[in-house]
């Protein structure tokens, strides 16, 4: 087991990693920018090294400074957390070259999964379904018709060179196809300089389902069930839960089996998450893989009893999955709300000093946070203040506990998204498990009684 580990991150995840290290008897080194001098991860680590000015690119993303800090403190391993350098294959290589263990997958695995098209082709080749689509650009109308036969309707025609909603057309039936193809091409040429378009199946109300996986350095890979993260705004997750109301035990076993078989083939090790979309018929399609621990890992920890961060450290140290996770059982239900320092209606960031900070507690509540009374939320990094996690023997109990905890969570001095989460949990569709990625758009504007709190 490692004697000393450097945490190349900040905020709540840095604290989370320090917790795991403390429990494993590992000494910790924190790195911090000048804006984080009074941060909790700095206070609770055994050693701390300032690695730069506030801007991430000059500090937390500064590979030479991070590696240098690791060298002068003589650590054996680096845990990259999430974001920052966690999916930077170059950084993983530099760690290896410096004889420091990178607590994560190999640089090759990071590279393979980091390139989205490559990852999709690799997974499809190993029996994990991907969204039906044209392989690359569709050169002419005949090709479009042929592709549409394969893909099925509804489908979307999208500019290869673009994004942002331009050069896109949804097609719901064959008569619409050619006009849509032509319009999309001319729009794409005007907006992005290239008329190239590709086609893929369009899912009107997709559900975001992801599978947690864990591999060791001896060839074993397991999955730890799924999480549903359909409640998002502009592709930013707001609320996650496990298990998903849309995933049956049979589907979990089937898809989980395909995923672990595919990852065994690529020799994946350490933690990762396979992200999928579920269509209206309940079919799952691979979208991408994140080769790191994720923000929402706690809900999986609650329903499996597996400490994922300790597991990461242990497999990185060479331990076998059969020892790290001897038996996997799913129990109960867990929900996580991401409490951000943002206006709950306009979502504008609300940096500043927290003047009151009172955490909810009691049975079935967990809070992962690096905030505290008098802490200043700096404007340089993400706006996550706290992760509020509930656990219950049933989904109803997890919801009831989360509602109660949101009511008893006091944060003053900054605005937070707590009122938004209350509205989400009060919505009848949420209780009914009727979720898809457009859920947030359907939330009615806040009423006075709720907004006043």
């Amino acid at each position: 087991m490692f004697q000393k580990v450097l945490i190349a991150n900040r905020g709540e995840i840095a604290l989370r990693i320090i917790c795991a290290c403390k429990e494993l008897g590992i000494r910790t080194v924190a790195v911090f920018s000048e804006a984080d001098r009074n941060a909790l991860h700095v206070r609770f680590a055994d050693e701390a090294v300032c690695i730069g000015p506030p801007r991430s690119s000059d500090s937390y993303l500064n590979i030479p400074h991070v590696i240098s800090a690791a060298e002068i403190t003589d650590v054996e391993a680096i845990h990259p957390g999430y974001g920052f350098l966690s999916e930077n294959a170059n950084f993983a290589e530099v760690c290896e070259a410096s004889h420091i263990t990178f607590i994560g997958p190999s640089p090759e695995a990071i590279r393979l999964m980091g390139e989205k098209d490559q990852a999709r082709r690799a997974m499809a080749g190993m029996g994990v379904p991907i969204i039906p689509g044209s392989e690359g650009a569709v050169p002419n109308e005949d090709a479009a018709l042929a592709a549409a036969k394969e893909i099925g309707y509804p489908l979307i025609v999208k500019a290869v060179a673009g994004g942002g909603g331009r050069g896109m057309r949804v097609v719901r039936s064959q008569p619409e196809l050619i006009p849509a193809y032509q319009t999309a091409r001319s729009e794409a040429e005007q907006a992005f300089g290239s008329p190239e378009v590709y086609m893929e199946r369009f899912i009107e109300r997709p559900r975001h389902i992801e599978f947690q996986v864990l591999g060791d350095k001896h060839g074993s890979v397991i999955h730890l069930g799924e999480r549903e993260c359909s409640i998002q705004r502009r592709h930013q997750k707001l609320l996650e839960e496990s298990p998903s109301t849309a995933v049956t035990a049979k589907l979990r076993e089937e898809m989980g089996g395909r995923i672990t078989a595919a990852l065994k083939k690529v020799g994946y090790n350490n933690a990762g998450t396979i992200e999928l979309l579920m269509d209206e018929d309940g079919s799952l399609y691979f979208i991408e893989m994140n080769t790191r621990i994720q923000v929402e890992h706690p809900v999986t920890e609650m329903v499996t009893g597996v400490d994922l961060v300790k597991a990461q450290i242990r497999v990185a140290a060479g331990q076998r999955l059969s020892d790290v996770v001897p038996k996997l059982e799913f129990r109960g239900h867990s929900i996580e709300c991401r409490i951000n320092a943002e206006d709950p209606e306009t979502f504008t960031p609300s940096a500043g000093r927290i003047t009151a900070f009172q955490l909810p507690g009691s049975n079935g509540i967990r809070v992962d946070t690096a905030a505290y009374t008098d802490a200043v939320i700096p404007p340089y990094y993400d706006s996550l203040v706290a992760k509020l996690i509930s656990f219950g023997s049933s989904r109803e109990e997890a919801i009831a506990r989360m509602r109660r905890a949101l009511d008893m969570f006091v944060v003053e001095g900054i605005k937070t998204t707590i009122p938004l989460h209350r509205r989400i949990l009060e919505h009848p569709d949420f209780a009914a498990g009727k979720l898809d990625t457009h859920f947030i758009e359907r939330l009615a504007p806040a009423q006075q009684s709720v907004a006043a709190k």
């Binding site: 300032c50 690695i51 060298e71 002068i72």
Partner: protein, 173 residues
């Protein structure tokens, strides 16, 4: 918490339990370099000294009363929250490390140091080397004046923003 220096200024010549004199020397060393904590391991023992002002991170009170860093973009991003090391009341310019690494006072082991206290330096003149990832980075003076204090020892690890030299600005006499 400041980063701990690796190794110490004076290795005890004998192994076994250290004597009071050595502890007193270490305490003086800590005061001289404004260290809050010192740890040394070797010769079969480990010595760890922590100044009483440093809060052990278990009490909520300690955490509730930290020094607040106002992180507004209008403020100079490079302004350190750490209090400037004790220097005399006179105007000194502090040269701080722009990188993380290991400080060396000489260009090569055994060679004379780049500068010593009392030397006059000009902007651009190399003052020291900070080694990072096997690369030797020369740190140049950004002021003209006399070296009045050197804060670090050769072989000591330094963090970003760590004070290295105090220069009393002025022209060459």
């Amino acid at each position: 918490m400041a980063s701990k220096p690796k190794g110490s200024s004076g290795k005890p010549s004998q192994s076994g339990p250290i004597d009071f004199e050595t502890v007193a020397r270490v305490l003086a060393f800590m005061g001289e370099h404004s260290l809050e904590e010192f740890e040394y391991e070797g010769g079969g023992f480990r010595l760890r000294l922590r100044k009483p002002g440093v809060p052990f991170p278990v009490s909520g009170r300690a955490i509730a009363a930290p020094e607040i860093v106002v992180a507004s973009p209008a403020a100079t991003p490079n302004a350190p929250a750490m209090p400037a090391p004790a220097a005399s009341a006179e105007d000194v310019h502090i040269v701080k490390s722009p990188i993380v690494g290991t400080f060396y006072e000489s260009p090569r082991p055994g060679a004379p140091p780049f500068v010593k206290v009392g030397d006059h330096v000009e902007p651009g003149q190399p003052l020291c080397i900070v080694e990072a990832m096997k690369l030797m980075n020369e740190i140049e003076s950004d002021a003209a004046g006399e070296i009045v204090k050197i804060y670090v020892q050769s072989g000591q690890p330094v963090e970003y923003g760590e004070s290295l030299f105090a220069i009393r600005p002025g022209r060459r006499k």
